[in-house]
């Protein structure tokens, strides 16, 4: 069966757009894992909460971009409170305790959303309404804009990590929590700040995704699952790897959906997950100390 060139191109654009939103969610997840060894199973629910806060703000003010900022800020503060109250006391314990704790948080957040906003889906109106012709499709500009926007957020955060005065605190704490502390870095504060940043990135993804997929109280699970696959494939706690893996997995799914139905295409992500765990359990895109200063995580010393 010959696959038409135009379909491949359309699916490449689709894969990149989905990949960038996923990368934004997965960045937060991998960052939180990298610094605290906590797999945050409530991460997708922070996406969901962000989307609802965004939708509510739009309903009140009519401004998408204001809603975007409000959602990121509100969820960042919420994330900080969540980390300080629930995860900080569990730090350094058996990983199972944090898995159970974050899973519990996930359930609570979903039920809260159901109670607060009801069971019906909400739609966020996209701020950019134009379309452009791509072969037989009228492709919305907004989809392309989300990819650029997600990329810009990730890029800005990357620059902060690399050159920002407090970016170095995060990278040092990721590599060696104890030595970072001995160097005067307030590690508990860094943990809370990183959780807040990860939560803000999740909320930002939620608002960006709102116009594409609608907002429901169960949307979080899908994000958690995909972001988790991406984080494992990219190498746990490795930011650059997660971004590459998000694009890689999304492209795989997009191409697969040319041949099979989109709901079956999800299977290729799971296959990528299983194959990675079998043959490269440390992840596909893992940095080593020899590969220049751009990479900033390796085996922990304790």
């Amino acid at each position: 069966m010959a696959i038409p060139f135009d379909q491949i191109l359309i699916q490449t654009v689709n894969g990149l757009v989905n990949g960038m939103i996923l990368a934004l969610v997965a960045s937060g997840l991998t960052l939180i894992f990298g610094i605290m060894d906590v797999v945050n199973f409530a991460h997708g629910d922070l996406v969901m909460l962000g989307a609802f806060v965004g939708a509510t703000t739009i309903a009140a003010t009519g401004s998408f971009w204001l809603a975007f900022l409000v959602a990121a800020l509100v969820i960042a503060v919420f994330g900080a409170a969540l980390q300080a109250s629930t995860l900080r006391p569990l730090l350094g314990r058996d990983p199972l305790t944090t898995i159970l704790a974050t899973f519990g948080i996930s359930l609570v957040l979903q039920k809260y959303a159901l109670w607060q906003w009801g069971p019906s889906a909400r739609k966020i109106q996209e701020p950019i309404t134009g379309q452009f012709a791509m072969f037989y499709l009228e492709y919305p500009w907004y989809r392309v804009a989300t990819a650029f926007f997600a990329g810009a957020i990730i890029g800005a955060f990357w620059l902060f990590l690399k050159y920002g005065r407090y970016g170095i605190w995060i990278r040092a704490t990721m590599q060696d929590r104890i030595m970072a502390s001995a160097m005067g870095i307030p590690v508990p504060l860094v943990h809370t700040a990183v959780f807040a940043i990860g939560a803000a990135m999740a909320a930002a993804s939620g608002v960006l995704f709102g116009p594409l997929g609608g907002v429901t109280q169960t949307m979080g699970f899908d994000f958690t699952l995909r972001a988790f696959i991406v984080v494992v494939v990219g190498g746990m706690g490795n930011l650059g790897g997660s971004i590459l893996a998000a694009i890689f997995i999304s492209l795989l799914e997009a191409y697969a959906s040319i041949i099979v139905s989109p709901s079956q295409a999800v299977i290729v992500s799971f296959m990528a997950l299983i194959l990675t765990l079998l043959f490269r359990p440390t992840g596909l895109f893992v940095p080593t100390p020899s590969s220049s200063g751009a990479c900033w995580r390796c085996r922990r010393t304790s």
Binding site: R165, Y166, I168, W169, R171, A172, Q175, D176, I178, M179, A180, S181, A182, M183, G184, I185, P186, V187, P188, P287, P289, S290, S291, S292, G293, C295, W296, R297, C298, T301
Partner: protein, 235 residues
């Protein structure tokens, strides 16, 4: 300035320090000698808040610091150079130094002065400033670990076996930097196995055995009478 009084420390159920008392006065270099596994490193970890003392008092400039978080101790002026160096392997040399420099309240000018000072003492770090810490040799990593501690402008540095596994040329460089720090008025608590270096660099020496301090004397006295050294260290 720094005082341990009758400190007891445990790792789980094993009793490591059995009532250690040590004092370091401002600007003084104090040696801590002993064989492997007598509790020298644990003493430093207890001071640095990495292990919590079960009993006894740790005080810095008159205030109790037992159980304080390491980053607070760093702000008080205690810097730590661990035995395994603990370089941030994926950060560049300059970024390793920045972990101590990028703190609130430090002016750009002072940052630059501190950097130039360690580059002056360790020219190799300037050459390799953009290289990942993990790619340095053992000796270079040791220098980076000491330089990184100096970024905190500490009042005292806890140095854990800085010459372990280094070749003689590197050892003499470590000796030089201890002298430079001493001249600058920084106190040093030096844990070592290298007896000649310790006797030369320190003003007073404590000798530990099985979790307690067995002997305490001015370094000059031990240099003149090596019998005590033979008795406890078997060298």
């Amino acid at each position: 300035m720094l005082a341990l009084e009758n400190v007891h420390t445990y790792y789980g159920k094993s009793h490591i320090l059995h009532g250690v008392s040590i004092e370091v006065r401002p600007g003084e270099v104090v040696g801590l000698l002993g064989r492997n596994g007598v509790g020298k490193s644990t003493t430093l970890k207890t001071i640095m808040g990495l292990v919590r003392p079960a009993e006894g008092r740790v005080a810095f400039e008159g205030r109790g610091i037992g159980g304080m978080a390491p980053h607070r101790l760093a702000h008080l002026g205690i810097a730590y150079v661990p035995e395994d160096r603990r370089i941030f392997r994926l950060l560049t040399v300059l970024e390793n130094l920045r972990t101590g420099l990028d703190r609130p309240g430090l002016t750009d000018r002072r940052r630059e002065e501190l950097l130039q000072k360690v580059y002056g003492s360790f020219p190799v770090l300037r050459e390799r400033r953009d290289q990942a810490g993990g790619t340095l040799s053992g000796g270079e990593q040791q220098m980076l670990a000491i330089a990184r501690a100096m970024m905190l402008e500490p009042k005292i540095i806890l140095l854990d076996e800085p010459t372990e596994g280094l070749m003689p040329r590197m050892v003499s460089q470590i000796r030089d930097i201890i002298q430079v720090l001493h001249r600058d008025g920084v106190a040093i608590l030096l844990v070592e196995q290298n007896v000649p270096l310790t006797l030369e660099a320190s003003s007073r020496v404590y000798i530990m055995e099985k979790g307690v301090v067995r002997h305490h004397a001015p370094a000059a006295e031990l240099r003149a009478n090596q019998a005590v050294i033979h008795q406890y260290l078997g060298v």
